[in-house]
Structures are given as C-alpha cells and as structure tokens.
C-alpha cells in the first residue's frame, strides 16, 4: 500500500506519534497518535498489498476473531484515507 504523505514514526515513553516530514505539513500540519496495533499496521503498510494481508499478519500475533480484526483494520485504513495519507 502506498502512503501519499511522509511521516516519521516516533516512540516516546510508550506513545506512538506520527510526525509530518517534507511537504506533508502543507496538507496536515500536526501530529497523529497511534495505539499499539495502529503502530503495527503503520510499520507494515509499505510491504503489504491488501487489507487481507494486514489481517493475516496481525492474526499471527493477536488472539482475536478474524471478523473483528477485519473491521478494526478497515476502520483504521479508512481513517488514513480520510486524512489523505493513503
């Protein structure tokens, strides 16, 4: 999946922050916070082709029903699309 905006993922005292770099601040001049699973998804975005691949990878580490995880992943990706990041 291709990110349209550039961020640096920072981990500070247990918090995950996305800090805009390059021209990103012209579109989104502020930081975003992620929870642990959001951070996992963010890190794999450049390597995966589909939502299903993200779900497959997360199911290797999290004990959760596939349908529930699918819903959560879709919600997260929709939020990124809404912000113009994906």
């Amino acid at each position: 999946m291709k990110k349209k905006l550039d961020f640096v993922l920072r981990e500070i005292a247990g918090d995950l922050l996305l800090v805009p770099t390059g021209k990103t601040a012209l579109d989104l001049n502020g930081m975003l916070t992620l929870n642990e699973v959001g951070g996992e998804i963010w890190k794999m975005l450049d390597e995966v082709e589909s939502e299903e691949e993200i779900v497959d990878r997360l199911l290797e580490d999290y004990d959760v029903e596939r349908a529930v995880l699918q819903g959560d992943v879709r919600e997260f990706l929709d939020k990124l699309r809404e912000l113009g990041i994906l």
């Binding site: 640096v8 920072r10 500070i12 005292a13 922050l17 770099t21 601040a25 001049n29 930081m31 916070t33």
Partner: protein, 380 residues
C-alpha cells in the same frame, strides 16, 4: 472577519508536555543557533555583535547542532524551536533545518522575517516548518528604524504575504516598548487581515545575559506595560469576553493563559522550563529557558541527556517567592522564575516591577469593564 486564535497550541502538545514533566524527560527543546542578528532591537535579551560573540565563545557547528538534535530525539524531544539572534543569518541554516526535520522533530522557527525570501522561502515551501514565529514590531519603516535600527517593514510584510501564499503557518509576535506601542492596534489589525495567530508582550525581560545587570532594560514603566496589556486584551476580546476576563480577575479566577510559558505563582517552578523543555544557547550551554544564563551546563562536555538531568534536578530545587503564594493578585500575575532572576538576581525575591505591572493591570481592567458596563446600560 478572519478568526484569530490567541492560543495556538493543540491539546495533544499539552498532553505531551504534561506527561514529559511527570516522567522527567524533555518534550521540547530550543536551539539558539546564533546570538548575531541583522537587526539591533533596543530591548533584545540575546543579541551580540559578531566581534562580541567571538570574544565570548564560538558558535556550535552545523554538525554539532544536528548531532544534538539526534540526542534530543533520543531523550524524548518532539518540539524543537530554532531561534537566535536571527537563526537564518547562518549560511548553514538550511542544512541544519533539513537534517533536524528529517529525524522527526516538529520544528518551529523564530525569525525577524527579513531574510525569508528567495532560497529560504523555497526551503520553507518545499519542507514547511510546523510554524514560523515572526516578530512584527510595527507598521512602518520609521518604527522599525527607530526600534530595530533598520527600515524593514515593507520588506517584512512582503515576505509574510509570500510565506502565507506558500501555505506556511505564521504566527506574529509583537514585543511592545516605548518606541512601538503606538503601532499596537495596527499590528493587531494587520494580523487579522493576514489571518494569522498573534501575540503581544508588554513585559520585557531585563537582558541579563547581555548586560549582566538585573532589573534594567529598554522598556516601559510597569504602569505603561500594564496599560498596553489591557489595551491589547481589549483589542482581541469582544465586550462579553473582556467583561468575563475582568470579572475573573476581580473574583480570583485564573484566566486562560495565552502565554506558552504558562507560569504559575508560588512554591516550585510550574512552567515548562526545566520540567519538560530546555534551552540550548549558541555556545552549547543548557539551561531551563532562554532568559536564564544558569546553570548553563556544557552539552559538548557532558552530553545532552546528562546535561538535561542536571538542569531538571536544579529546577526542582528552585523555590519562587513565598510572598507570592498569599498575594491577592496571584491568579492574574505572569511572574515566573526567570522574571524573579532577571529582575532581582534571585529566584525567591518578588520582583517589584512585575508586582506593579500586575496591580495596575487589575485596576485598568476594572476601569475598562466599568466603561463597557456603562455603555451597555446607556444602550439599554
């Protein structure tokens, strides 16, 4: 009418600072890249000529600043202010800026705006900062010539327009003195027209770092500074807001702070200095804030993390004036450790200038509120 927000700080930044202060790591850093400046403002707390700067020490190199930025990131810093003097005077400013931005810092830049065109405009257009805090000292070349020694107004306004057109977030700061207070309303109106955040300061710190003298500086009397503070609040608040502000003062309720420092009166230091932020001077000395020359731990000798810990622990020992804790004006007073130090040379002595400023602002706010109340009654 364009909306002007007087507090520009998002809630997330406040939460990050609160957590950092609680846990003891820095969330914000201020890198003072140079004490040199192309302006010579009468009230400046840091400006040194090139000769004086060289006599006092050497400026850190670009490589040193970039390495310190990395160390700051590792320590937990998210927000970085690049300041001076005039930071863009350094030919290597773009190199430092780009490198620090790339490692994930939210960078703001303090500037007088004079050089923000050509290559620097292009830099900020292609790699925008979180914000440029630009000093706007007046609305004429004459005011600039008088206060800053350079008739720069026309050029600066052109530069602000260009930055805004490029989509760069700009905040205007106005330091008020005898030489430019007449322009205060016009500066505010200019900010409204430009649609940018604005903040005015009528309290000027004595420039202890430059002169070594406590309680002295180019500034208005405390009473005149109070007059400017109230007049500025009147400009930015509608009748209802001002009446609430004045009522809060009268009833002992703190008004929302428009000051990034968020100082509070009494006992330990409660502002961010040395609790969640630090200042690194042009020659590599780490202190709680830019107004304080001490403790000034040398980061090149100790490393940034160890220097931060020394400063943080020193700040925990500082106690503000006991007198302030029972002062009836404390909820409307901006006093902080740096003011006490710069005014009196000690942290625990109440600074008379600030006391007078505060008392007079209470009086003027009440008078202004009565005028507003009176005019409302006449209309009714």
């Amino acid at each position: 009418m364009s909306e002007i927000r007087t507090t520009a700080e998002p809630r997330l930044a406040r939460a990050i600072h609160a957590k950092a202060a609680h846990c003891g790591y820095p969330a914000a850093a201020n890198f003072e890249l140079t004490p040199r400046c192309n302006f010579n403002c009468k009230m400046c707390y840091v400006h040194l000529s090139k000769e004086e700067q060289e006599r006092r020490g050497r400026e850190l190199t670009a490589a040193e600043w970039i390495d310190l930025g990395r160390q700051a990131c590792e320590a937990g810093v998210v927000f970085l202010l690049l300041t001076g003097g005039e930071p863009t005077l350094r030919p290597d400013f773009p190199e430092i800026y780009r490198a620090l931005k790339k490692i994930g810092l939210m960078i703001s830049v303090n500037s007088n705006g004079f050089l923000l065109r050509g290559e620097l405009l292009e830099l900020f257009q292609n790699d925008p900062p979180y914000r440029i805090n630009l000093s706007l000292y007046g609305v004429s070349n004459e005011t600039y010539a008088d206060l800053c020694g350079i008739p720069a107004y026309d050029r600066i306004v052109e530069n602000i327009h260009a930055l805004r057109q490029a989509g760069v977030d700009v905040k205007l700061n106005m330091s008020l003195t005898d030489a430019n207070r007449k322009d205060m309303q016009a500066v505010y109106e200019t900010a409204v027209k430009l649609g940018v955040h604005t903040q005015a300061a009528s309290y000027m710190f004595p420039p202890v770092r430059v002169t070594g003298e406590f309680g002295k500086g180019f500034r208005m009397s405390a009473e005149e500074a109070a007059q400017c503070e109230i007049s500025y609040n009147r400009l930015r608040m509608d009748d209802e807001q001002f009446l609430r502000y004045a009522k809060n003062l009268e009833e002992g309720i703190p008004n929302e702070s428009t000051d990034d420092c968020e100082g509070q009166v009494g006992s330990e230091m409660r502002c961010r200095a040395g609790r969640s932020s630090f200042w690194l001077s042009w020659d590599g000395k780490l202190s709680p804030c830019g107004m304080l020359p001490e403790p000034g731990v040398n980061v090149l000798e100790t490393g940034l993390q160890a220097a931060w810990e020394q400063v943080r622990d020193r700040v925990r020992e500082i106690r503000l004036p006991a007198k302030c804790t029972t002062c009836p004006y404390r909820h409307g007073c901006h006093v902080c450790a740096a003011m006490c130090y710069c005014e009196t040379g000690s942290y625990d002595t109440a600074p008379d200038y600030v006391c007078r400023l505060t008392r007079h602002s209470f009086l003027l706010a009440a008078e202004e509120a009565a005028k507003i109340g009176g005019s409302h009654e006449e209309k009714a």
